[in-house]
Subunit: 156 residues, 3 copies
């Protein structure tokens, strides 16, 4: 009976209805303690790989001494950021921070609060829905070791 | 045969299961270089238009010298913010920032990092799920020109 | 007729296809004006309760003088944060802020901007998809009264 076969096909679909989801870790190892890396192309690749056309993309540092943030890809500004963050939360003297008993990175935990942990980006028509100058950066404040960023996308 | 007609109806639904999604740009042109604008009503209108009852709403500046943030709608506090941000990242002298070769807005890029790029708001029962005093603001730090905010909502 | 019964079962599912969603408020009352509370276990409980395996979790302060942020669970660092935030946005003298006509908490509105309102966390395989040292905190800057945090999860 044709009707019965169709019903079975439908039951396959109705048994489990899922959003699309995608997850990837991006790894970085900077040669300097502090560095800003434009990761927009990497994140775009993730989105393409995901096949998701509409949804939300979360991009966050998985470490607590680094940031993911959105700003301008301009080297003068990045030097300004470095100087500014050093003014607001200086690295040295290490002894000014209680956290620096066994560590020397208290300043990095602070710099990361100013620059933020994560960016949430809209996904529209299969693309990152960014303004004309918006670029996604990994901000490293305690580098010279392997650290990672999470990209998670949900949608359909 | 009644049964067969019903099967066909179902197959229409099973063919493509989608989350609801909504996208809108809100445009602003401030008369001053720096200004805070309460956009909660505008964002509520977007949510109503979307017909989404449950989900997440992303509201972000599409420019890198402005912010979307949630705080208090109190004019004294806004003047305090203005003074405080000028203390942490002063506009002048322009020459203190490398970014200001062709530009004069390095301070705006910094102010926006403190105030943030985006707010993610829960959508519950068709409403913005905000606390009693939470209001959504557009924070302009380099105005006097047309700039925009993205509202993206996903859910059902 | 067996086939007809099956069709009716399916129509129940096809009538309303929904993402899973979950909402909970976490309440806090600190004994001090400023305090950091690790809420990671509480948020994990919410996720378990939700039954959501894949999606996004939003955790935000519902008050504008407190924060939800992700950083290190190290008491030395928390004391460093306290000192640092007092340097960037001092509580006293109250008279330095216009907001403090009827209030005394202008500094709390500023501290919260630096530490942030919200964290968005990926949900993967039924767990909070956090890096090894990432812990979720409630940051209170104007306490000694009942205040709350929203946990909203969407996914499937």
């Amino acid at each position: 009976m044709t009707g019965f076969i169709k019903i079975n096909n439908l039951s396959l679909i109705s048994g489990r209805i899922k959003m699309k989801r995608y997850r990837k870790e991006l790894w970085f190892e900077t040669s300097k303690r502090r560095e800003f890396i434009n990761i927009t192309r990497e994140v775009e690749k993730c989105l393409k790989e995901s096949g998701i056309a509409e949804g939300l993309l979360l991009c966050n540092a998985m470490h607590i001494t680094s940031s993911v943030f959105i700003n301008d890809d301009e080297s003068g500004l990045h030097q300004d950021f470095e100087k500014w963050l050093e003014k607001l939360a200086p690295e040295k003297p290490y002894s000014q921070y209680l956290h620096n008993g066994y560590e020397d990175n208290a300043d990095a935990h602070m710099k990361r609060q100013i620059m933020g942990r994560e960016a949430v980006v809209a996904v529209t028509g299969g693309k990152l829905d960014l303004g004309p100058w918006e670029q996604i950066f990994y901000g490293e404040f305690d580098g010279k070791r392997r650290k990672r960023v999470l990209v998670k996308i949900i949608g359909d």
